[in-house]
Amino acid sequence: MTPYERVYTAIELGYADFTPVVPQITYATCILVGREFEQSGGNPKDLAVSLIGGWKKVGYDGIYSGWEASFNLLAEAMGCKLTKGNDGLPQVNTHPVETEEDISRLILPNPWQDGRLPFHLEVTKLIKDYVKDEVPVFSYVPGPFTLAGLLRGSEKFLLDILRKPQFVKKLIDVATEASVAFALAKIKSGADIIVVADPTASSSIISPEMFKSFSLPAIKKVFKSVVEAGAVPSLHICGNTEPILELMVESGAKILEIDHLVDLRIAKEKVGSRVCLQGNIDPSLELLMGSPKEVYSSALQCIEMAGKQGGFILSSGCEVPLNTPWENLVAMVEASRNYPLRRLESCVRRDC
């Protein structure tokens, strides 16, 4: 069975030979293949070598084609300025939207031409050409709500929700168009699974009512286009999402990436019969700082909680940090591969 079949069986809520393992790892792969982070990322081939190399070394079941956050890339193409943080990754630092006129002045980027979008489409294509249909290619696009927040500046944007809701909706509409165009270009470049990342829509930040009226309608639009283009829609929202799990399913997502702050057992209970869950080993405390043994036992626990009957992809609870030891990622794969036998063993003692 190929990793592709393994993942697609899980998406259809089934269980193939093993629980698929797909950690959310992008730029941290450079360390896995023995490259310095500072010297990585110069050209598309360089990124593809790390992203493919990480998969080859660890043997997980899917590849994320990404490097820095997708919402930063799209925000940059729409007029935000990025600054390199002290850790070397660029982040949004200026916000072009102050007034209603600024919204109508926003230029919808052409993903094949503008900013660094073509660069990243090329990375997706290089990976797809390499793995073909053996391994599914995951790729992020921004949640329109989060992108709109970057265009406006998140603090002002969140205030606008209370003070100027119509202004916010207008801005989200433009962001939605941009996200759709980026998603379609990524699918054309070879992405199998489009992951909408909408961290600002987390229940750690906005209320479920706000999620329902501002973020959700936009995600639905993106997913509609994603499905029409033949790709699988997946939804990533960081932080606490327990209050909005049902609404997240309503978006049309076939996969929900569950943060480590959410109790996987509760998520499985609430929505696990309707959507494939992906998660949720603590990225810092366990993957970065824990031992392979600790990761292995957490991974088994995750599978036990959400993957017994399938419909589950074992993953990190958010993005894998730089310098994560590769042995810890291997421990995730081992847990998945050993699980069926372990389960059988436990059935020797008691009937099940």
Binding site: G85, D87, L89, L159, P283, L285, P321
Partner: protein, 214 residues
């Protein structure tokens, strides 16, 4: 009167708060009392409502805006001595290196100010060296480290290690917070406290504050 102001703060009635403050001043109420008994208690109640999941970050930001506007009216009416007297401690705060998010940090700053702390806001993307420098030079009693990404929270550990190495660890209490941060994480990296949200952070700050031994 003070209760009425506090209630308007909780209800986020911006213009009403400002109007009531102006009335209170004209009636001769002291700015200190207005800050302490009306604004602070209103903001605190909002914070509690956030912890209970009744209000969310946009509401807290609006509460912060109302507070800033109110302080802009009240502070010029206070003498330097009054201000000094009002301070309950000195706090340095910043978002760690590589992290340009400052939403959570800004909320904590607002809450700390409303609780009467003198706050040195270092901003975002603050390097470990900058944190060390401020501890040496300004001698805050409390250092708050915010991280909003799983990829940057490791810097909190780095700052604590650097403080230890420089022999400064006992000079300052360290509080960590941010969306991906957990109590376990705080314990593992040797922080003195974990602020689950902005409100908890301030309650903790009040508890932890003590004269710096350095």
């Amino acid at each position: 009167m003070l209760e009425e102001i506090a209630k308007a703060v909780v209800n986020l009635e911006e213009e009403k708060v400002i109007a009531l403050i102006n009335t209170a001043i004209s009636k001769g109420l002291s700015p200190r009392d207005i800050i302490k008994f009306a604004l602070t208690s209103g903001i605190k109640e909002l914070g509690e409502m956030y912890s209970q999941g009744v209000v969310f970050i946009p509401h807290l930001i609006l509460g912060g805006e109302i507070l800033q506007r109110s302080l802009a009216i009240l502070e010029p009416l206070m003498t330097d001595k009054e201000k000094k007297y009002a301070y309950s401690g000195k706090v340095a705060i910043g978002t760690v290196a590589g992290d340009l998010h400052d939403l959570g940090k800004n909320l904590v700053v607002t809450m700390l100010k409303s609780a009467g702390f003198e706050v040195i806001d270092l901003g975002r993307d603050v390097s470990t060296e900058q944190f060390l420098k401020i501890v040496k030079e300004e001698k805050p009693q409390l250092l708050c480290l915010s991280a909003l990404m799983t990829t940057t929270m490791v810097r909190q550990r780095e700052v604590i290690k650097a403080l230890e190495k420089e022999g400064l660890r006992s000079c300052v209490k360290v509080l960590v917070g941010g969306a991906p941060v957990s109590r376990d994480w705080a314990r593992k990296i040797g922080a003195d406290g974990y602020g689950e949200d902005a409100f908890v952070a301030v309650t903790l700050a009040e508890k932890l504050i003590a004269p710096s031994p350095c």
